[in-house]
């Protein structure tokens, strides 16, 4: 980190040296008053060997300026010499005093500026985060997990002491990431220049925390900042820019604010999509985290020689150290260059040399090709027909701004009619107005939603809801009770659900919960929770990935939207027989025959999914084991 104050210290240092020079010259005038005569030399204690005149008088004068004790040696020297020595000593005291004061002041100012977050940043290739919300800490943690040296500059209007304190809390364990919190408005061009935006490698624009006292949408500063970025003269070195919007309704505005297309993450949209995917597939959140949380495996785009003429399915079987997910290429249309990425092409897709591979694998590993001896292992068996998730009854407990998007997602993924009950602390009128404002008269096509005002952390209320009659219960981080922390309410509700499950004799629904803090989720291990979505963390994962690899935007969009390709968890017996020793290659082949891609497995007796096993890994599957696949969503 380099720091520069705006008042030039060099000028002050220059003045000090000029003063020393002038007064040294003044002191040298003692030469003319007999400084180097034997009598004076004797008094000064100067050996007779020194008689070169100018040099000796210079050293004598300088010594008096820099060393106050030197004047005591003037005892019994001629009066004029004693006087000149005295003047030099006093002036020397003043200059040294000033110099010490200046140095102390300089250090103090630098410390103050550092504290206030108002230094000029001179980093290169830094990761710049504009805005402040709870996702910043997760982003920092993910960047640290990459094990690469990285300076991260934070610029926001938030209280710098609060920001520094929060950052210190996580930075304590960092070895690779250095954080430089700065205070200032990301909407001002001068502030963006101060944090060296043109030298940055990635810029993340975050939606500020909601200010209850303001009517202004928290997306407005983000949009202003984006407009400022549009005016920056990048000189051909434009960083990867990714934008977070809190409200999906502002997506159009964001697109208008920038002349260049940038990936935009709607946090409400993303969280609601993830919640509904978890409602459809138990264990989805864990799989999602394993793929995107910068752990062992991550989605990468890699170049591989010699793919020309190979079929996608053929290469997928041969890759030993990675799962082949799709292909990517660059195309130019109407003079505009576009990076295209497609997932899950048909196995007979013929690859060409200019295409890159989208793979799930360890970051540094090579894409090893290996032809397996058991490549033609044929196993005849009656595959179990796959039944697609068909939710018919869902209960949503709690309320926050993601609720409308969550209802929309249920609507989009519905195979048949879904009856949804929403319960929160808001009055019925609030719910009706909220829905009317957003739906603009359009009703949902595939869901019927009814609303109940009640306390979702009350045992009586939950008992009365007949929870076990639902297919899924979704607990939103509840902001309808402002006096309580949302995560605490979720934990309370989960405890009551645990009791209800213990009392229930038969079916109990899947339980999906949204948390704001991972520590809160850790408290809920002994509850019927099937999937936990830590919303700031999940959104941060996406923001961090996109800031590093913007081309992943289309992959994220695809994986989470209704109707496209999705990550799904399906029973093993839909593909391969149970209780039989077989290699993962067989699973790959079986999924390929369904136009799907096997990413790994989630074994019933394992706590975590196993992604990207080598093709030769042997399994003996039993009931309850699932295959994690990338598949086209089909509603039949």
């Amino acid at each position: 980190m380099s720091v520069r104050t705006r008042k030039s210290p060099l000028f002050i240092l220059f003045l000090v040296f000029v003063a020393i020079g002038l007064f040294t010259l003044l002191g040298m005038s003692a030469y003319f008053f007999g400084l180097l005569e034997p009598e004076a030399l004797k008094a000064e204690g100067i050996s007779g060997d020194y008689d070169s005149g100018i040099v000796d008088s210079f050293l004598w004068s300088l010594k008096h300026i820099l060393d106050p004790g030197a004047w005591s040696e003037d005892y019994s020297a001629p009066l004029m010499i004693t006087l000149i020595g005295f003047v030099n000593t006093i002036v020397g005291l003043m200059i040294v005093g000033m110099l010490i004061g200046f140095v102390v002041n300089f250090i103090q100012n630098a410390m103050d500026e550092l504290k206030r977050g108002s230094i000029d940043v001179h980093e290169i290739d830094h990761f710049l985060i504009l805005g402040w919300n709870r996702k910043v800490l997760s982003i920092l943690t993910f960047l640290e997990a990459l094990n690469k040296r990285q300076a991260v500059v934070l610029l926001s209007n938030a209280d710098i002491d609060l920001v520094s304190e929060e950052v210190r809390h996580v930075e304590r364990n960092f070895k690779h990431v250095t954080v430089i919190p700065q205070h200032g408005s990301p909407t001002l061009a001068a502030e963006l220049e101060r944090v060296a935006i043109r030298e940055s490698s990635s810029v993340v624009l975050l939606a500020d925390e909601v200010d209850e006292s303001s009517d202004q949408s928290n997306d407005i500063p983000t949009i202003k900042s984006l407009m400022q970025l549009d005016n920056v003269a990048w000189h051909g070195r434009r960083p990867n820019i990714v934008v977070e919007v809190a409200n999906k309704e502002n997506l159009d505005l964001v697109e208008l604010a920038s002349t260049v297309s940038v990936p935009v993450v709607s946090s409400a949209d993303f969280v609601s999509k993830t919640l509904v995917q978890c409602a459809r597939y138990e264990g989805y959140a864990e799989v999602y985290s394993s793929i995107f949380a910068f752990e062992d495996n991550e989605i990468q785009i890699r170049k591989m020689d010699g793919i020309e003429g190979k079929l996608f399915g053929e290469l997928a079987e041969q890759l030993e150290s990675a799962i082949l997910l799709g292909v990517s290429w660059t195309e130019v249309k109407d003079g505009v260059e576009r990076r295209v990425a497609i997932l899950n092409p048909e196995p007979d897709y013929d690859l060409v040399e200019d295409e890159e591979l989208i793979v799930l694998g360890e970051t540094m590993s090579e894409l090893l090709e290996y032809r397996h001896e058991d490549a033609h292992e044929i196993i005849e068996f009656d595959a179990k027909p796959y039944e697609r998730p068909n939710l018919k009854k869902a209960l949503i407990l709690g309320w926050n701004d993601n609720i409308y998007q969550t209802l929309l997602e249920f609507d989009g993924h519905a195979v048949s009619q879904i009856d949804i009950s929403v319960v929160s602390g808001h009055e019925v009128g609030y719910y009706e107005t909220y829905l009317a404002e957003r739906s603009e008269g359009d009703s949902f096509k595939n869901i019927s939603a009814k609303y109940l005002q009640a306390d979702t952390a009350s045992q009586e209320v939950l008992k009365g809801l007949e929870v076990d009659s639902y297919d899924v219960v979704v607990l939103l981080a509840d902001e309808s009770h402002t006096a309580y922390d949302p995560d605490s309410r979720t934990a309370l509700t989960l405890l009551i659900l645990r009791q209800l499950k213990a009392d229930s004799e038969g079916h109990f629904p899947k339980v999906v919960a949204e948390f704001y803090d991972q520590d809160s989720q850790a408290l809920c291990v002994e509850t019927p929770l099937t999937d936990a979505v830590i919303s700031p963390e999940f959104v941060s994962m996406q923001l961090t990935h996109l800031a590093r690899e913007p081309v992943l935007a289309s992959i994220y969009r695809e994986l989470l939207s209704a109707g496209g390709i999705e990550i799904a968890l399906r029973p093993v017996e839909c593909y391969v027989p149970l209780n039989q020793d077989l290699g993962f290659l067989r699973v790959i082949q079986a999924t390929q025959s369904e136009n799907e891609i096997a990413l790994g497995v989630r074994l019933a007796n394992a706590s975590e999914p196993l992604l990207n096993p080598t093709n030769s890994t042997r399994f003996n599957f039993c009931e309850g084991d699932l295959v994690v696949v990338l598949a086209q969503q089909v509603y039949s």
């Binding site: 497609i342 048909e346 897709y349 695809e558 496209g564 086209q632 509603y635 039949s636």
Partner: protein, 121 residues
């Protein structure tokens, strides 16, 4: 070179189909919703349309019905594409006026056979 219009809202499906058919020698243009599809049928006059059924703004069934009711467009063959693999969807697409039907994900060889049958039929 036969001109094919792909009407599909899903970006990846659109890109994949377009890439594969271009390599097979077809000239491809794309539209993202039913209304844009109808507009391009008028302005670009394709030899054939691959129409996804679940489209925003104007869905594929409605766009197909409107195209077949329009004397200017009715002669352009339309192959309906849908992820809904049920027989009733096939019947619904054919009832809307589609000349043929295929399910997603597509089998390219099978789709090309259907395309050629319509183009040469």
């Amino acid at each position: 070179m036969s001109k094919i219009l792909i009407v599909e809202d899903n970006e990846m499906n659109r890109d994949m189909l377009s890439r594969r058919l271009t390599r097979k020698g077809y000239e491809i243009e794309m539209a993202v919703d039913g209304q844009e599809g109808l507009d391009m049928m008028r302005s670009w006059t394709p030899d054939l349309v691959l129409m996804d059924m679940g489209l925003p703004v104007l869905d594929g069934w409605e766009a197909t019905s409107q195209a077949k009711a329009d004397t200017e467009l009715s002669s352009i063959p339309i192959i309906a594409l849908t992820a809904h693999a049920m027989e009733e969807d096939r019947q619904k697409a054919l009832a809307a006026g589609a000349d043929d039907f295929d399910t997603k994900p597509v089998n390219l060889a099978g789709l090309i056979e259907k395309i050629e049958k319509q183009l040469n039929g």
